[in-house]
Symmetry: C2
Subunit: 337 residues, 2 copies
């Protein structure tokens, strides 16, 4: 499938869905929409992903194209009205529109009408199934080892770490699958449940259901974590995944230099070592779940500083760590597998 990816004003640093799709999905990306970067190319900004031109609007997306994918997610998950002309242009050209926003495109009268008129589909991947239920506390009954990525904050690399570790485990000959819990993971894997969107009573149950659905068919499940257990807004999602997944091991993800909660700057991050106690202590009554490895995003640092930051991070959490995009994952995988 050939897709254009909308990322106005946010590519690449605040467009994690767009970058995730460019890096991991099977889609052929024909263009990225970003008014502020128009005229440049994807690889001018992000190394080692598939390349594509960056254009100002859907009118400049080259044919053929099958779908427009919303590649950014503002806090709150609303729809920015400035994107409406691009969505209208896509639907008018007969393209599907794939969105992970909290705002459901199928509930927008204009989009629904245009989609019907042009015989194309609005895919709201963040709309959860309506047959979810409460957890039964049975996720640890599956044959697979379950590895959950957890974070010190939002946007510290949980999805990337999940994808890289699963990919590298497969390359090393292990049967590893991903349990996608968020919009980007779902867009990449083509299935999954958007845990942040389920009824809060069913948070753990929705994760348990996915693990039990595929767990006996694989040796390792890498569960995409969400949020952070210390996040003022999103910790409920994190906690539900931690208890619903009943994981065998945790990988603690962090961004080097991050000192306060992103978007909630009055909340400082606790010391790194406290996270290990918090996650293990909170997991313990439901499952015995040690932090066995770490992942550190060092993309803002030069190589010497990155290696220094990794050494400090490993010392703080007392297990092997790596930057999954910059260095190899051998030691981390050895700790996990």
């Amino acid at each position: 499938m050939r897709v254009a990816v909308l990322a106005h004003g946010k590519f690449p640093d605040r467009a994690k869905t767009a970058v995730g799709v460019l890096r991991y999905a099977d889609y052929d990306v024909v263009a990225v929409l970003d008014r502020e970067r128009a005229g440049s190319r994807v690889t001018d900004h992000v190394p080692a992903v598939q390349d594509a031109p960056i254009v100002a609007g859907f009118g400049e997306v080259p044919e053929p194209v099958d779908a427009l994918l919303i590649g950014i997610a503002p806090i709150g998950g609303g729809f920015e009205e400035s994107w409406r002309p691009d969505v209208i242009a896509a639907l008018t050209r007969g393209c599907d529109v794939i969105s992970g926003l909290h705002y459901f495109l199928t509930d927008d009268e204009e989009f629904a009408r245009l989609a019907a008129e042009n015989d194309c589909e609005l895919q709201d991947v963040r709309r959860p199934p309506d047959d979810l239920s409460v957890s039964e506390g049975l996720a640890d009954g599956v044959d697979a080892e379950v590895i959950l990525t957890v974070g010190t904050d939002c946007s510290v690399g949980k999805m990337t770490t999940t994808m890289e570790l699963a990919q590298d485990a497969r390359k090393a000959g292990y049967d590893a699958a991903v349990i996608p819990t968020g919009q980007t993971g779902i867009m990449i894997e083509g299935w999954g449940t958007p845990i942040d969107r389920v009824v809060s009573d069913f948070t753990a149950g929705a994760v348990e259901e996915m693990i039990r659905e595929v767990g006996d068919n694989h040796d390792y499940l890498f569960v995409e974590g969400q949020g952070s257990i210390v996040h003022p807004a999103y910790s409920a999602v994190t906690c539900g995944i931690l208890h619903g997944a009943m994981p065998d091991a945790l990988v603690l993800c962090h961004e080097a230099g991050r000192e306060v909660i992103h978007g909630y700057e009055s909340f400082p991050l606790p010391p790194i070592e406290e996270y290990v106690d918090l996650y293990e202590g909170l997991a313990a009554p439901v499952s015995d779940t040690p932090v066995v490895a770490g992942a550190l995003d060092t993309s803002d640092l030069d190589d010497a500083a990155a290696r220094q930051a990794l050494t400090e991070y490993e010392s703080a959490i007392d297990v092997p760590a790596t930057d999954v995009l910059r260095y190899d994952t051998d030691d981390v995988l050895e700790a996990i597998l």
Copy 2:
């Protein structure tokens, strides 16, 4: 308002909504509907609540009556078809119907039609508002002191403790209000948001919104907690309330003798003292929130055993505790106010 309370086959022990309404709500309860107890009176079964006759069906409810309130919640929150004649009789007599079931009465065609024909209202208190959003981390900006009840498990007295402490604080001359987060609390207080039904991303935000709505009008807010931070299924709700409320103090609720999670008997409760560390440790990155008091449900024990259990409980959590229905709340309120 004069209400009849439906509790067929469950009054009083498995009708916690009915008992909560009888004990705390401002409604004038004119009858309880329970086929199996018809002919007796409320105070034959529950001491120290408002009295009313128990009748077999809505046809026997004395005039005048303004509403029928569904006072029981079966596992799963479904609607029992055996209740349909009572709901129809109420609507036909022009009464509103108030329900906290997961099954929404407004989605039932027959009830919706009868309500319209008879100009009465179907109130589904478990339907959350549709304009909720993520927390901004601002709940501690209100003038009031915020006190949250937390639990070792579900059904250990968080709602009762919340209501009793708020009531006793008011009796002692303090301006105290309740923040209702579950169906019974909402029915008693006449407002509130059913947190277990909101989208998980908005769990903290929904609590924050309620606190900010009324916080500047009161000196003390008693927030009704839900679930438990160690619950395999419901911990997401608990965690979201803990971080969304940004409380100044916690009251840890427990039932004497409870050793395993109710309904999840393969999960033992952690030692009581660990709960203090878990709740305080999890709260700390968002708000400095000590456990300042405890509430112990001793209803299964005789007086000597109850006092012994309270002594042990106080020693484990190292703060004053009481059984809020059995003994006075003086020491606990002194620790809070």
